[in-house]
């Protein structure tokens, strides 16, 4: 039902962007990729081969996937969007003061 390697590859891709890239916006993108890999894993993990948990009018109860992880993932997506917006705001403000968004070029931070 699930292939773990895809989530590991996505997670490592995000971790690579977070650690190795010096552009701060790329770091935020890496953080979001890591987040997305976890969400994909939660959704794929709770998939038991059923349908989305939405009743259809005039049809009988059928085999559903678990709605709770999907609702929790929705919560996580919203919070991830909020944190990404706040991080990008801080990067904009940093750019106003230092004229760079590269974390190696900011004075006082390298070595």
């Amino acid at each position: 039902m699930r292939n773990n390697f895809i989530f590991i590859i996505l997670f490592m891709l995000g971790l690579y962007a977070l650690i190795m890239k010096t552009n701060l916006i790329k770091n935020v993108i890496g953080l979001n990729i890591m987040e997305a890999s976890i969400f994909f894993w939660v959704i794929a993990f709770s998939d038991v081969g059923g349908e989305v948990a939405i009743h259809k009018m005039g049809e009988e109860f059928s085999k559903f996937n678990d709605p709770v992880p999907q609702a929790l993932t929705l919560t996580g997506i919203v919070i991830g969007a909020s944190t990404a917006a706040l991080l990008l705001t801080l990067i904009i403000e940093l750019n106003q003061f230092t004229d760079t968004i590269d974390r190696d070029e900011i004075e006082g931070l390298n070595n």
Binding site: M1, N4, F7, I8, F11, M12, L15, Y16, I19, M20, F45, S46, D47, V48, V52, A53, I54, H55, K56, M57, F61, F64, D66, P67, V68, Q70, A71, L74, T75, V78, I79, S82, T83, A85, L86, L88, T89, L90, I92, E93, Q96
Partner: protein, 239 residues
């Protein structure tokens, strides 16, 4: 030498993390054995409990409504922080807008985008969608206004005060329904049973459509405020 040391360190961290993730994924059992208790209860009796066809909406706004309240508080906190960091006084003119053809075409398309977002918000308990998703579509209107007509247009037509009032109204709708739940049903944010109508109609499922509406307005206004705050500072040199 220093560089090679750093590289080796990073690669070993990557390999160790990957191995740890793989081992932990192997330890996780199959899901079929886990979905007992809460999940089975929600799947079997969620429709009769809440009247919502969409069980995910039922989880979000009935069983775990307090969680959704905290979620919208997180959005409120993010909006407050962004506006605080990027606050400014002057009227922003970040872009002059696109050509006449684009402006006319977008004028024709705008009502349909608004209609679609209202559809997604109000049908959250019947079909896929809901407050958060529809609110994002609502915020898209404000973003395209800024791009197509120039950000001064967006400022004059929908000033930040209006957006702030809309966001506050959405939050108060949510909280007010929670307080009404205390008064009528005995618990904070309990679904209002006396509002329930025939299952499957637009106004059914107790207070879920109203909560959805409040959350949709709140998310739309909040994301519009975020975008608006960001674009002002970015293009300051265009004055």
């Amino acid at each position: 030498m220093h560089k090679y040391l750093k590289k080796t360190l990073v690669i070993s961290v990557f390999i160790l993390t990957a191995i740890a993730l793989y081992e932990n994924f192997l330890l996780v059992p199959e899901y079929t054995g886990l979905r007992t208790g809460v999940s089975d209860y929600i799947i079997s009796s969620g429709l009769s409990d809440t009247g919502s066809l969409n069980l995910i909406t039922a989880v979000l706004y009935d069983y775990r409504a307090f969680d959704s309240l905290g979620e919208s508080t997180v959005i409120f906190g993010a909006v407050s922080g962004i506006v605080l960091i990027l606050s400014r006084k002057m009227l922003p003119v970040s872009s002059r807008g696109l050509s006449f053809i684009v402006k006319r075409t977008f004028g024709l398309v705008t009502p349909f985008i608004a209609l679609f977002s209202l559809y997604v918000i109000t049908h959250g308990h019947l079909s896929p969608g809901g407050g958060f998703q529809g609110g994002v579509i609502l915020a898209v209107i404000s973003i395209i206004f800024s791009i197509v007509y120039g950000s001064a247009f967006d400022y004059r037509r929908y000033s930040p005060q209006v957006k702030t009032a809309m966001e506050t109204m959405g939050a108060f709708t949510f909280l007010g329904l929670g307080v009404v739940g205390i008064l009528m049903e005995g618990f904070f944010l309990k679904n209002l049973g006396f509002l329930t109508a025939r299952t499957g109609t637009l106004i059914s499922a107790g207070s879920i459509p109203y909560v959805n509406f409040g959350v949709g307005i709140k998310v739309g206004a909040g994301l519009a405020i975020i975008f608006y705050s960001m674009i002002q500072k970015t293009f300051k040199e265009d004055f």
